[in-house]
Point group: C2
Chain length 422, copies 2
């Protein structure tokens, strides 16, 4: 059975003419198996249809934004209702106040909010606020942690100059000694420690935060008068109904949010404690669409859902069912499969698979069976998924493991991933 | 007659608790007359209602995004229809290709497009692309030109470090000698000249581009192998159905767009010529909501309107009627009023008004008469405005000039604007 792909092929050809590289950023399929579709046509609940009409159970959830299900009727109705009254206007509506109140009431450390569009807007603002608050420059980051694509945090060096990354020091995630060494190296210039809520880097196993590491980051910031940021853009609301480090008992001064708190509608946020409020009021920060009312209406409806339903326990239950079921099937197949990260944001990597040839083969087999998984980036569960969906994924996984088992000795290298082994 | 403002007052009080400074960015009323509302409730066509239900004819148009009229039925219907099929998904739809094709067909210099959210995303991407393309670092900017609020172009120094603005040289807008001097100072390191399409800085008279200056910028870039950007985020589609420098016969390599090309729905774009395509494909650039389908549907409908209607001639006609009518009334009043910039994006400043006391008084009088004007930022006309609207504004202007004339000798200083005369 071959998946139809003629629409996708045509669109790729047209895109190559008018979009650099045919597509940009994290939604480019350049580093995915060749049979993965680049273009999609429709989404509803936990399902996605590509440009050729092939239906998939989608474990990427738009790389996070789909928390409650695609095209959720109530959330979209809130958006539409507000849009019809006025959306981007000459000033904000009262919804910005209501959303700031609701969000800060939910997130323990937060006293105030600034709303923006990209997750990176919020994190970059945190950097400015930390520097304004302390009058210092140095920020400590974990090696390999993703904080956005702006020059200061760009993961690829092209177009970036040395000065973009000035006054940055790096530690290893969960490694207290390396964190302490970085703080020592910062001397009296430490403005902030920027923490990922967990290690969710691409291509490698994920890691939950060691509570002792998180506590030590808090202590070191307090001792230095520096600010602690948790960048919850990717993980927010899939680990806690609060900042993700609340589960290890650590409260930051700042947390950045994005992706899913309006269920895919475009809004992000920086939340902060009163410690950082004065500096936050002193920086100039803005954007053409930051005051949009409709995404705030959608966010309020989404946060109601967060507070009043068991969406989190539901996706944790599904994630556990998926993890246990997949572990059992992988063990039965004799193929070593590592499942890492929280069950709501799983990453799957095969043992002894440096250029991901096993991962690519298996993922393509999953796709043929109507399940969209990612071979090297963490995935996301959403509340629209059901036990039956997970069972469909497990059935597909079993058949795909069997197919992989039969071919594993004869798989060729994956040319596009050769940079991993170079 | 006093305008109702109790809702606004209540919201400001709540906002002070949960939003740093009570509000941030360009939509904060901190530097507007005290009676200007901070919060709005509704918008339709050319009209806006504040949180207390006061109706206004709005000459800010959301600081630009409102091009065709607030809550335009057809544009919003395109947004909603696409949203219901899926908006933020695991990949883009074919609309991204269609929009890139349509936009590049309309903009003479453009061969490709990258879509993003903030205007500043596009301009910052241009900086990365220029550095990637040339392998050089220096960018030349016009003093005082606004390109966004990211650290590299921040207008306020708080939270910004010296390295954020490394390798930047400045010229005076429309001053060829100062542009040539900056190019000479860049030596063999010139990556780009970033041009505002016109001088549209706040607090000062606007200026249209001198064609000789624009041509010289093009020549200097060509001679150096550097890239020329026109930052059309603010002025785009209110000067031409093309890049704004097309009216002076100059084609840049790159142009950044935002605000109004989806009539207020959240999307921005960087357009580029094939010269810059390779570098554009090499940088890594992305954002959580950049692939959203619904704003692209709205943009396609807006661009159809741009192509197929006389919206531009209509707002030019209204702008001329406003300019001529206001000049006549100002002359009759004996008050010196300067109207600068294109008629579709006017700025009004009174003569001999260093702390804007005349401007503030007059603007407040206009507001009392139901017309929202800005005392120091350029304004925007939209296609939903009518001759009757302009005549309403002119009647209000005449009465407000009369009121100002009666009070002008006794106006006190405007404390919040004292920084202008410090």
């Amino acid at each position: 059975m071959t998946r139809a792909n003629s629409q996708d092929r045509d669109l790729r050809e047209r895109a190559a003419a008018v979009i650099p590289g045919g597509m940009y950023g994290h939604q480019s399929t350049r580093l995915l198996p060749d049979d993965y579709p680049q273009f999609f046509s429709r989404a509803k609940g936990a399902r996605l249809w590509d440009a050729d009409g092939n239906e998939m159970l989608d474990f990427m959830c738009a790389y996070g934004p789909n928390l409650m299900g695609y095209a959720d009727d109530a959330i979209d109705a809130a958006y539409i209702d507000r849009m019809r009254q006025g959306d981007t206007m000459t000033g904000p509506t009262g919804l910005i106040v209501e959303l700031a109140e609701r969000f800060t009431a939910m997130v323990t450390h937060a006293d105030w909010a600034i709303f923006c569009k990209n997750g990176g807007d919020a994190t970059q603002m945190a950097l400015m606020i930390a520097r304004a608050h302390t009058g210092r420059k140095t920020v400590i980051l974990a090696k390999g942690a993703y904080h956005g694509a702006a020059p200061w945090c760009a993961t690829r060096p092209v177009g970036v100059i040395r000065e973009d990354k000035a006054h940055q020091l790096f530690c290893d995630y969960n490694d207290i000694a390396s964190l302490e060494a970085a703080v020592a190296a910062a001397g009296d210039d430490l403005a902030a420690i920027f923490a990922a809520p967990m290690k969710h880097d691409a291509f490698t196993d994920q890691a939950l935060p060691d509570p002792a590491y998180a506590r030590r980051a808090r202590e070191l910031c307090d001792a230095a008068g520096a600010l602690l940021l948790v960048d919850d853009v990717r993980a927010g609301l899939r680990i806690a109904r609060d900042c993700s480090w609340s589960v290890v008992g650590v409260q930051p001064d700042l947390s950045s949010w994005g992706k899913c708190f309006a269920n895919g509608h475009p809004i992000s946020a920086l939340l902060g404690s009163n410690t950082a409020k004065r500096a936050a009021a002193q920086i100039f920060t803005t954007g053409s669409f930051w005051y949009q009312a409709a995404p705030m209406a959608a966010a309020l409806t989404t946060l109601d859902r967060v507070r009043n339903t068991d969406y989190l326990e539901h996706i944790e239950g599904l994630g556990t069912r998926l993890r246990d079921g997949l572990a059992e099937r992988a063990a039965a197949s004799g193929l070593g499969l590592r499942q890492t990260g929280p069950v709501t944001m799983p990453l799957f990597l095969f043992d002894d698979d440096p250029d991901l040839r096993k991962g690519f083969f298996w993922s393509s087999e999953m796709l043929r069976r109507g399940v969209y998984v990612h071979p090297w980036h963490n995935m996301f569960l959403c509340a629209a998924m059901t036990t039956a969906d997970i069972d469909q994924a497990l059935d597909a996984a079993e058949a795909s493991l069997k197919a992989l088992k039969g071919q594993v000795g004869s798989l060729g290298p994956v040319a596009k991933m050769s940079f991993l082994t170079a």
